[in-house]
Amino acid sequence: MRCSENKRSFSGKLKPTWCKGCTYFIFQKVLNGLLQRLNYDPLSTVFVSGIGCSSRISLYTSAFGMHTIHGRAIPVATGIRLSRSDVSVLVIAGDGDLFSIGAGHFVHAARKNIDITVFCLNNMTYAMTKNQSSPTSGFDHAGSFTPAGNQTLPLNTVEFAICCKSSFVARSTTFTPDHLEKTIIRALKHRGFSFVDIVAPCRTFNPEYFPSEKQISIVDVNETMQFDMKDYSSALQCASRCIFPSRESPAVLPVGTFFEA
């Protein structure tokens, strides 16, 4: 929902308890700035999250916020959306929250094309519980429950989201705030279930990504790959090749808009 009056700030009064330098600050700044610029009304906007470091973001906004329970942000957001078509509903949660315990809900909200925007703050770990492998952790990731290395390939969230029939699917990263901003704008404008995977590594438990913005090469698929993002099958195929972190090319992070129905 847009404000009638002056642009209003989305910064909340509560100070985040995130670690110094947590990449979530970057996302928060970009998102809040954008919502204000786009004239969203905090009094008609709801941030819905689950539980995790990432999910605390719903407590740090001046908008309405629901810090719910672990894995269940999407059903709650669905209820808000279905009962009130006049408020904006953003889901912001972690990779563990959305894709481990919450995977089933994701499938169905996407399938039903519920008109919400879902942001996954994907740090490829369960940060809040101190580093267990999440569904997006890399192969061989040593989480505390998998000390010998996680033996599962990471879930490719963009491919998965397309396959679940999300109507907008993109990936961006806190390493490139400009691209992130561009992507979020597109996602917000889209009507229907939109999903943005935001690679935002954890400074405390994924230190290998820092200070290595340069080591990782961020590739924008919309510039480098030939595919039709309006075409389901073309998009799916493109997304399925763009896994991160991939075993073959761990240093390449493919970002971009993969699908827009």
């Binding site: 009094l43 709801v46 810090h67 269940r72 209820g79 408020v87």
Partner: protein
């Protein structure tokens, strides 16, 4: 022509898929049109096809439905049904049997002789097949309706009208076949056994035929429920079936969720959005909802959860009856949550109690669990349904906004709007103010302040806190806010007084109240002085009422249908009562006779002890 006395009980039996339940429900409709009260209690197997299936129609001039075993007239197609039911037939009962099927007169006579039931009056009739159901099975409903209707001397026009009503959405040939069959059934000769029901003067049009599930759903609509989400599960599915048809037409939403966790989650989301919301389930679903129930208590959002109980544990016996989920409803979530548990005690009360449930939930800002059961839920009754304007509706207190149109009055039911901008003076809004039991709720898109809510322990502003003192204060407020419920909602406790000095007190809840009521009458006519207490408010325990009963007698009997004596134990825990428990676990509601005998046994025991 025999003039029958009320209540009169007629049972139609058959196999699942043959249409006996449909026949029974049509009969109820026809009776309703004649001004009768009554109910149609269904029995069915847990498999989709085959298995024993029956419907018991109780015809009455009073409102309440009473589980009975005194059958006045039994309709059978298979001899096995006679064996099963004969014990429940009163002396001189009428047995209408289909001699075109597996029942021959000789066999029947032999069986009755063996069972020493020569009192039974036999009526032979011959059904023909009436139409095919989708699974290409025999479907006898209209024909049976004709037979039974003729037996009771109900005008054929009424029966035909009923059949037309029932099959109005079917294709024309199906409709026509059913009309043919009802008159065919009507014309079958039944010898000289026709009877007649006493004339009624009830105004039929203030009443509807609803089962308890439909009554709950109907009430939700009346009270302004704007969002319903659920996941199918026997025996609660009827609530969803009803609301899926009715809500969308009113601009409200009915949503099939992917599971029970999503169902309650969506309802909580809608409630946060300012809309009255409800979900319905049965035992296994209640277990799955425990985490979100705790969340709703913690963030203090209104929410109504209907649990249509069936015997457990686990998948248990989905097609049978029990009152076993009270403990789970009261104590199921981790930690200590503030919630309200209510139980309707008649089909009609399913309506009123659901209104109360919404009202309590809106008023106290917490989840309310309605403990219905499979018998209330699936038994059709002729019940009074008040007009919306006669329904007392309480809407949550919300923070008002910038004088936009009041948001969705009919669905969200937002009232008592407080514009708190003036009061705030730039300070933050205290969603969880310690100075009041409940503060108004900000609603997105409507209120002048926003709020953030969390299942973490929080301070008055709703911000997470680690302070043990704040936690204690908030926990206390969340618990204590419910203290007023008994005074605020007097209709949640029902009394059947006697004198102030009584021999003993009887407590029953849920559908068990029906049997209790009739037993109380009987015991009183035996000369006992009894007061009966029928709490619909199960938790928090209605201490005022209990204390009053305690002041009248030391002998308190609690009757319920479970193995632990759950309500009796709640009373021990919270009210220092030491009740005598009468427990029943037969898969059906306790019968008056059984309850009567148990009461007499206990009372005699007490008196004997006191003599010593």
């Amino acid at each position: 022509m025999v003039l029958l006395t009320l209540p009169y009980t007629l049972k139609i039996t058959g196999c699942a898929g043959e249409g006996v339940i449909c026949a029974g429900e049509m009969l109820l409709e026809a009776l309703s049109r004649l001004g009768f009260h009554g109910a149609a209690y269904r029995e069915f197997p847990s498999s989709i096809e085959g298995g024993y299936c029956a419907v018991t129609i109780q015809i009455s001039d009073k409102l309440s439905y009473l589980p009975v075993n005194n059958i006045d007239c039994l309709f059978v197609r298979y001899i096995a049904a006679v064996e099963k039911e004969i014990g429940h037939c009163r002396r001189g009962a009428v047995l209408i049997y289909d001699d075109s099927s597996q029942c021959s007169e000789d066999e029947l006579l032999a069986l009755l002789k063996k069972l020493k039931r020569s009192d039974i009056q036999l009526i032979a009739i011959s059904l023909i097949e009436s139409g095919n159901d989708p699974g290409s099975k025999k479907f006898y409903s209209s024909e049976i309706l004709g037979v039974v209707g003729r037996f009771l001397s109900i005008p054929l026009s009424n029966l035909e009208y009923t059949v037309r009503n029932r099959f109005q959405y079917k294709n024309l040939s199906t409709l026509q076949r059913n009309c043919d069959m009802v008159s065919r059934g009507y014309q079958i000769q039944q010898g000289s056994h026709y009877s007649k029901l006493p004339l009624q003067d009830k105004k039929p049009f203030e009443y509807e035929i609803l089962d308890g599930n439909e009554a709950v759903a109907r009430a939700a609509v009346s009270v302004g429920c704007g969002f319903f989400s659920s996941y199918p599960i026997t025996p609660s599915t009827g609530i969803g079936n009803f609301l899926a048809r009715v809500l969308p037409a009113r601009g409200a939403v009915s949503c099939q969720a992917e599971d029970e966790i999503a169902a309650i989650g969506a309802a909580i989301g809608a409630s946060f959005a300012g809309v009255k919301s409800m979900t319905a389930t049965s035992g296994p679903g209640l277990s799955l909802m425990q985490e979100f129930l705790g969340y709703a208590s913690m963030v203090e959002l209104p929410l109504v959860v209907v649990d249509v109980q069936r015997p457990g544990p686990s998948t248990g016996s989905p097609a049978q009856f029990a009152q076993e989920d009270l403990f789970a409803a009261v104590f199921g979530s981790h930690g200590e949550t503030s919630r309200i548990v209510l139980a309707p005690d008649s089909i009609g009360n399913c309506f009123n109690l659901t209104i109360d449930a919404f009202n309590c939930s809106e008023y106290f800002q917490c989840p309310v669990i309605i403990l219905s059961d499979s018998v209330l839920g699936l038994t059709k009754g002729i019940i009074p349904v008040p007009e919306r304007q006669d329904v007392r509706i309480i809407n949550r207190s919300v923070v008002s906004g910038e004088c936009k149109e009041t948001y969705g009055e009919s669905t969200a039911g937002v009232s008592e709007c407080k514009d708190i901008r003036g009061e705030l003076n730039g300070e933050e809004f205290k969603r969880y103010s310690l100075e009041t039991a409940v503060a108004p709720i900000p609603v997105p898109g409507y209120s002048s302040v926003s709020c953030r809510i969390t299942g973490l322990e929080h301070d008055e502003y709703g911000n997470p806190t680690d302070s043990a003192e704040m936690r204690t204060l908030q926990q206390k407020r969340r618990m204590n806010k419910l203290n007023l419920i008994e005074t605020m909602f007097p209709s949640l406790v029902e009394w059947d007084y006697c004198t102030d000095e009584i021999d003993f007190g009887l407590i029953a809840w849920g559908i068990t109240v029906a049997a209790a009521g009739s037993v109380v009458e009987r015991l009183r006519s035996d000369g006992f002085r009894i007061a009966a207490l029928y709490p619909r408010l199960l938790f928090p325990v209605c201490l005022n009422a209990i204390k009053r009963l305690q002041s009248m007698t030391d002998h308190i009997i609690v009757v319920e249908s479970n193995g632990h004596g759950q309500y009796a134990r709640l009373l021990k825990m919270y009210a220092d009562v030491k009740p005598h428990s009468i427990l029943s676990q037969t898969g059906s509601p306790i019968l008056s006779d059984t309850l009567y005998d148990s009461c007499v046994r206990i009372v005699k025991g007490c008196f004997e002890n006191e003599m010593l």
